[in-house]
């Protein structure tokens, strides 16, 4: 599947292959049995379920696309997307933990790290012994990564890192997050770098866990770095490569988030179909009314459409061709779909949809953030518009 071999022949296969079907079933079964029963409660209590994470570790959930030599499952990208989707369908917060760990916490080290860095960190991350994260966002730097103030100053064979990162997914549980820091204050846009900062570093501390609308079982928090001495062996790539690393990493990250959003949409959709068959008003199931049928038809079509966009981005990635625009389109469309479908799902459920007795309100709360993190929908549109406008006509 690598290189341009795929351009030969006439394949554009929309029918899922056996492997993808079985991976989906396997993850779905695991998620429904192990996470399903607690999904509601861990959201309510904002509790991160370590007991489930322990069961997930030997199954390679934390090394999904890591090569076997480092202890990973070496899955193709569509399989990866399926895994994230199926986890998120049952519990978006867990799906978030796994995709952030894999796509932005681990992947950069795999792609950009030296042999020594890979040897030191990848097996630990792939086995889930350490959870990964990537910290960019700060109080003054959201969509504008150029506003980052965390800085790293060379001191002998260390870097002294100072700063505060906020809204870090997996923040309270990560063991070796990647920190995006300015390394040349004079021209900050061109001189940012990425460091692997181990949590055992003196000066590293975790802030309070955020009290969020959704994804509540994920321990999102701030990270404080006060005079952290980071060895120069922990610099990823070279000084000044920070932005490049971030942009490439986010392409992969967007596939993961798109898959997560898709899972949430799928869950909301299935719940709506079930409810439409059961709920009776005016002496018939509400699924017999054209209004509801139109809603379900639109939901089904939208979900299928964005799913194909997601898989297209995955296919391009595996083929080794650039996929930034495709990933942006996937993330934009899947997250938009998730928000729309979950909102519609609550509507279909009526008053019950607004109650915590049912899962749809959780899907609704979880969906919204998929339009915000790892590049807001507005940023995705910037990426796509730029590609569209710079393409030679």
């Amino acid at each position: 599947m690598y290189g341009f071999e795929h351009e030969r022949g006439d394949s554009l296969d929309f029918y899922p292959c056996m492997k993808h079907k079985v991976i989906r079933k396997t993850v779905r079964e695991f998620a429904e049995i192990e996470i399903g029963p607690i999904a509601h409660d861990i959201d309510q209590e904002a509790r991160f379920p370590w007991e489930v994470i322990e069961k997930m570790r030997p199954m390679h959930f934390f090394g999904l696309q890591v090569p076997k030599e480092y202890g990973g499952a070496d899955l193709d990208s569509i399989s990866y997307a399926i895994v994230i989707e199926e986890l998120s369908r049952v519990c978006a917060a867990i799906g978030l933990c796994v995709t952030v760990h894999n796509s932005v916490g681990l992947y950069p080290i795999l792609k950009f790290g030296t042999e020594e860095q890979k040897r030191r960190f990848v097996p630990l991350l792939a086995s889930g012994e350490i959870i990964g994260a990537f910290c960019i966002t700060e109080a003054n730097a959201g969509s504008d990564a150029g506003g980052v103030e965390t800085h790293a100053v060379k001191d002998g064979n260390h870097y002294i890192v100072n700063g505060t990162k906020i809204f870090v997914t997996n923040g309270a549980i990560c063991g070796a997050p990647l920190i995006f820091a300015v390394t040349n204050a004079k021209n900050s846009k061109k001189a940012a770098s990425v460091f692997i900062v181990e949590k055992t570093t003196p000066g590293y501390s975790v802030g309070e866990i955020e009290d969020l609308c959704g994804m509540r079982a994920n321990p999102v928090s701030s990270l404080f770095l006060e005079d952290c001495r980071v060895p120069e062996e922990n610099l990823l790539m070279n000084l000044g490569d920070g932005l490049k690393i971030v942009l490439i990493t986010l392409d992969t990250g967007r596939i993961g988030i798109a898959a997560q959003a898709l899972g949430i949409a799928q869950a909301a959709f299935e719940a709506s179909v079930r409810y439409s068959k059961e709920r009776q008003q005016f002496r018939q199931p509400i699924g017999s009314f054209q209004t509801i049928q139109n809603m379900l038809a639109d939901m089904a079509t939208e979900i299928d459409a964005v799913r194909l966009l997601l898989y297209r981005a995955c296919a391009y990635k595996d083929a080794g061709v650039t996929f930034s625009t495709e990933a942006a389109m996937a993330k934009l469309s899947c997250s938009t779909a998730a928000s729309r479908v979950t909102s519609q799902a609550v509507q279909i459920h009526g008053g019950y949809g607004y109650s915590k007795e049912y899962d749809v309100e959780r899907y609704f709360r979880d969906a919204k953030v998929t339009e915000i993190y790892e590049g807001t929908s507005e940023v995705q549109r910037m990426v796509i518009a730029r590609a569209v406008l710079t393409k030679p006509s």
Binding site: M18, V22, T26, V27, H60, F61, K68, D74, S79
Partner: protein, 272 residues
């Protein structure tokens, strides 16, 4: 030790439409899954292999889509998968199924030590194929085994049968059918699953490969014939209660209170 595990792909839904023309269930409409009892049998075989060493052949008879569960079996720990698939084999009863499986095992693993099957399937639930396969291959068998141990060429088993907790001994080669009581199937790691698809040893055989007589397989060779399949009809005078839950409960006790009380064996005061 050489193990053969017979597994079956069953529909993952509980309601399946019935095709009156062929007299069979329309299986292709549903997603398939490995029958739970078969999965437990496979897990038992894998645990035995981990202790005693050996080789596990997973074998299934079904439509081409059944190949899926062979990959799953290999991902779990089987060494080789065999798919018996042929339109002529379709719709057979346990008599011909056991014959077909027997012929296949005689071909792919004639020197087996132990055959493991699930005690019954979640769709047809006959629990007959195991014992009949044992007769086909003329080996001893024990059904509904909960726990087993191998010592040399003797198998010791524990099972609950008709209110007796039995410990039995069987000379190998033999066959057992496993319940779902023990041997919880392990979760397959995604890496192993991926490998099982990338490089799996799967053999696909049809009726000709097995040298089967077309008259002795499928619907043709079956001794039993399904005449009709239906969903059970309501035969009761049905009382429907609707409305506010509080009122429903009041009405329920008003009309059926004495029958409820009778079953409980205590009096329900005030409600009559």
């Amino acid at each position: 030790m050489k193990f053969v595990v017979c597994i079956k792909q069953v529909p993952a839904v509980s309601e399946l439409p019935w095709d009156p023309q062929t007299g069979t269930l329309m299986r292709d409409l549903a997603e398939g899954m490995m029958n739970p009892a078969c999965k437990h049998a496979l897990e038992a075989a894998i645990q035995l292999k981990e202790t005693l060493g050996g080789h596990i052949t997973a074998i299934t008879m079904g439509p081409p889509a059944a190949e899926e569960i062979l990959h799953e079996a290999i991902a779990m720990g089987a060494d080789k998968g065999v798919l018996l698939t042929d339109l002529r084999m379709a719709g057979g009863d346990t008599l011909v199924t056991s014959h077909t499986l027997g012929m296949a095992i005689a071909k792919v693993c004639p020197d087996f030590d132990l055959i493991l099957c699930g005690c019954h399937t979640s769709d047809s639930e006959t629990a007959q194929v195991g014992p009949q396969l044992a007769v086909e291959l003329d080996v001893p068998s024990v059904a509904y085994v909960e726990h087993l141990k191998v010592l040399g060429t003797t198998l010791t088993m524990r099972r609950l049968a008709d209110n007796f907790l039995e410990t039995l001994e069987m000379d190998l080669p033999g066959l057992v059918t496993m319940t779902t009581k023990h041997y919880q199937p392990r979760y397959v790691s995604l890496g192993d699953l991926n490998d099982a698809f990338l490089a799996a040893e799967i053999l696909i055989l049809n009726a000709d490969d097995l040298g089967l007589d077309p008259e002795r397989i499928g619907i043709k060779g079956s001794a039993t014939r399904i005449q009709n399949v239906y969903a059970p009809q309501a035969q009761k005078e049905n009382v429907v209660l609707k409305g506010a839950v509080k009122h429903i409960v009041e009405e329920l006790f008003a009309r059926f209170g004495d029958r409820i009380a009778g079953a409980i064996g205590k009096d329900l005061d005030g409600r009559q």
